[in-house]
Amino acid sequence: MQTIRKSVATFAMLALAGGAMAQSYPEREISGVIQWSAGGATDVVSRAITPHVEEIIGKKIVMQNKPGGVGAIATNFVYQQSADGYTLLYGAENPQLHAVMGIANLDYSKFYPINILGRGKVVVIANNDKPWKSFRELLDDIEANPGKIKMGTAGPGSVPHTVSAMITAVAKLPVTAVPFDGDGPGLTALQGGHIDFMASSLGSAAEHIKAGRMRVLAVLSDTAMTDSALGNIPPITDALPGVAKYLPWGPFYGVFAKRDIPEEAKAKLSAAFRKAAQSPQFIELMNGRHNEIVNLSGEEADAFLKKWQSVTAWILQGAGLAKHSPAEFGIPKP
């Protein structure tokens, strides 16, 4: 017992972080629920901004990961909490597709977007041992050897899944799609040669590309991308001009709370996140991961979310991958 108390005392001393007495809204700490697992793209962005927000609002935000079900588990969990502004959802784009993918009916329309933090770029990458020098060569190879080439993917509505839907919509893609739990495990399998190519967010792949451990074939954009470390990456439209109509497209990261939380909480949280997103440290992190800072909240963010959902849901529908038509849920055509 005594030893336990000693250790507690050591820790309590370390824990004595000062926090000024706040006024009305955050009168206790806030809990933050992250949709994806620790160490993933969403997790890093969420944990990177939170300390800056804590500093502004003067209360701790206790973070926890609740991964699973392509984000549906955390989304459901936050939706079940009371609308007092003390539970935040740190999420990515996935819930916007849950309805059409038949996973859940809950999307961000039931949540208030406190801040859309940023958007990621998507690249198509291949294993180093493969001969393809361009995305066109890969597509030709796939067509010549249907079913022989292995593509990494993640759950329905994930980045690789949506990108393959875009490609399928304009070209043939007879590949063997091997599902992984997310970008990270997929990229690991790519390096081991267990899959041949994969679409991934650039943030997760950048360091591996830089080290020459995988080859980037294209960026999901209609213009080439030039980066000092990554070199010149040709756009996907070089090989598939038809994809252009779906662009620009990319994953996004944001912070949400239930729609009907008190106005005061909405205002304070939005202001705090808006300011935190401008901190140099956060900007550096986002740049380092090749994420574009969006920093939108409220109505602007709602418009962003709606547009994203309508574009992506109809892509999936067009590619025949959607389980339910977006029309069933009143999602307008873009």
Partner: protein
């Protein structure tokens, strides 16, 4: 090279870093010992609170917590038969029987020494062979993970007590519990009965606390008035002879721990289970039969799970790929601190690598010191009167189950599994295989489906790949050999053991006859 040495010694020479490493190790032991407090949790909390510190200080505390935490799980497993963490499930199999004999002190002492030994093997592998091991880890295809999971699930045979059928049933129910929720691959609901709460699945920590913690408390209610065994704490440090005797086994299981720990899809929990299985299959004359307090049953899993710590750092530091949940959180912390974990990390910031190796080595030394002190007080816990001890364990279990996900439903699951586990135990089932199923079921499910899809859903092609890939063929051969060495025809081939068994039975019979 001198620069590397400078960075290696940095935490050894700076009193501030040294203190942080020591504090981390000390705290880690207790975090590990309490079921429900996990190293992952501790590290993620540390990250928001070391945000303003420099990266080295944060890494020093984390090294300590990680090594201490993995070791600490054995404490509660030995003393209370409640593993503090999934990596200590195997430790309780022989550790608790030792505590029941009044040898808790010696068991903890031996555990500490082999944990530190395993830790050093892991650190050595990290320092000397990191690039090599990480390339090997990348070579593991889904089918190889499937083989590993199958190897682990064979342990059901060792854990099922006197009825194999009951062990298999318990293992299968564990797999079933692990399947509940949305399928991670297709997001289809499995066993959710249309409810939203079940989509999140059942927390396996809540299940572990229920099946081990609560069920054990209920079983012990039958022994309320039996006086607790007095613990002999006069001899804590294992003798040199004993350590030397177990060195070969500990070296083998540590090597196993390093490799399994380095695999991005498997960690210390699976390493410990495989190590226990290895010991059970290869040790011919354990100090006591396995399951009744064999020292080998402590040596194997405890050296393996601490070796897995060094292993888990390998892909993280060389490739930026997390070896387990804890290193995943550390990678997140590195990003926040402005570092870019990835294959370039060792090239752009080699000092970080050597600093990390140094602080792990230092933490391992603190582990030896803190692990061997305070055992006396700990061993006394078992001597506490049951009417006071059991309610306390229950409250701790409830908070622990709640703390994992801040979810009150997990507490009810814990109680439900506890009562179910109680009846299972009373009717001669073992609960160990349940946890085995929960841990390995999802891994088997995922790797089987990935491997089968990769083979174009063609069973012939799928089977063929096990033979055509050199790595898979090697693992398969090792698996078959380890199974064959147990079968009766193998023994007949060697022609030794069968001769002794009838004799032993005769001796047993005459002994029991003498008693009457």
């Amino acid at each position: 090279m001198t620069a590397a040495l400078d960075y290696f010694l940095m935490s050894w020479l700076d009193p501030h870093l040294m203190f942080l490493t020591a504090a981390g190790t000390f705290a880690g032991i207790y975090i590990g010992a309490i079921p429900g407090l996990s190293v992952t949790m501790a590290v993620s909390i540390l990250i928001s609170f070391t945000f303003k510190w420099d990266m080295n200080s944060a890494l020093a505390v984390i090294s300590g917590i990680y090594l201490g935490g993995v070791y600490g799980g054995s404490r509660s497993a030995i003393l209370l038969n409640i593993p503090g963490a999934p990596s200590a499930v195997a430790t309780g199999m022989d550790g608790y029987p030792l505590a029941k004999r009044g040898e808790a002190g010696a068991a903890i002492g031996l555990t500490t020494v082999v944990s530190v030994f395993g830790g050093f093997i892991g650190i050595l592998a990290l320092a000397a062979a990191a690039p090599l091991v990480s390339e090997l880890a990348l070579k593991f295809a889904p089918r190889d993970y499937l083989l590993l999971a199958m190897w682990g699930i064979l342990l059901v045979g060792s854990l099922s007590g006197d009825s194999l059928a009951k062990g298999i049933f318990a293992g299968a129910i564990g797999v079933l519990i692990g399947m509940v929720g949305l399928d991670p691959m297709t997001a289809e609901p499995r066993f959710t009965f249309g409810t939203v709460t079940l989509t999140a699945g059942i927390s396996y920590i809540a299940a572990m606390i229920g099946f081990f913690g609560v069920a054990e408390v209920l079983v012990q209610l039958h022994e309320l008035h039996i006086k607790a065994v007095r613990q002999d704490v006069s001899k804590i440090l294992p003798s040199f002879g004993l350590i030397r005797k177990y060195l070969p086994l500990a070296t083998r299981t540590s090597a196993l721990g390093v490799v399994v720990g380095a695999l991005p899809g498997a960690g210390g929990d699976i390493a410990a289970l495989m190590a226990y299985d290895h010991a059970k299959r290869t040790v011919k004359n354990p100090s006591r039969p396995f399951g009744q307090g064999a020292y080998e049953g402590l040596v194997a899993p405890e050296s393996a799970n601490n070796a897995a710590v060094g292993g888990a750092y390998i892909p993280m530091l060389t490739l930026g790929i997390p070896g387990d949940a804890v290193t995943a959180v550390i990678i997140g912390a590195m990003y926040i601190h402005g570092l870019k974990p990835g294959p370039m990390l060792m090239i752009e910031t080699p000092h970080l690598f050597w600093f990390q190796v140094g602080s792990l080595a230092l933490a391992n030394i603190f582990l030896l010191i803190f692990g061997l002190t305070g055992i006396r007080i700990f061993a006394k816990i078992v001597e506490a009167p049951k009417p006071i001890l059991l309610p306390l364990i229950l409250v701790l279990s409830a908070v622990g189950a709640y703390a994992i996900n801040n979810n009150p439903a997990d507490v009810y699951w814990m109680l439900g599994f506890g009562v179910f586990g109680y009846f299972l135990k009373m009717y001669g089932f073992q609960v160990g295989p349940v946890i085995l199923g929960i841990i390995l079921g999802p891994l088997m499910d995922r790797s089987f489906r990935q491997a089968m899809i990769s083979a174009g859903e063609d069973p012939v092609q799928f089977a063929g790949e096990f033979l055509t890939s050199p790595l898979s063929a090697a693992i398969l051969a090792a698996l078959v050999l380890s199974m064959a060495s147990q079968s009766s025809w193998w023994r007949k081939l060697r022609g030794k053991r069968d001769m002794h068994e009838p004799l032993a039975r005769e001796l047993e019979d005459s002994a029991s006859a003498g008693n009457v």
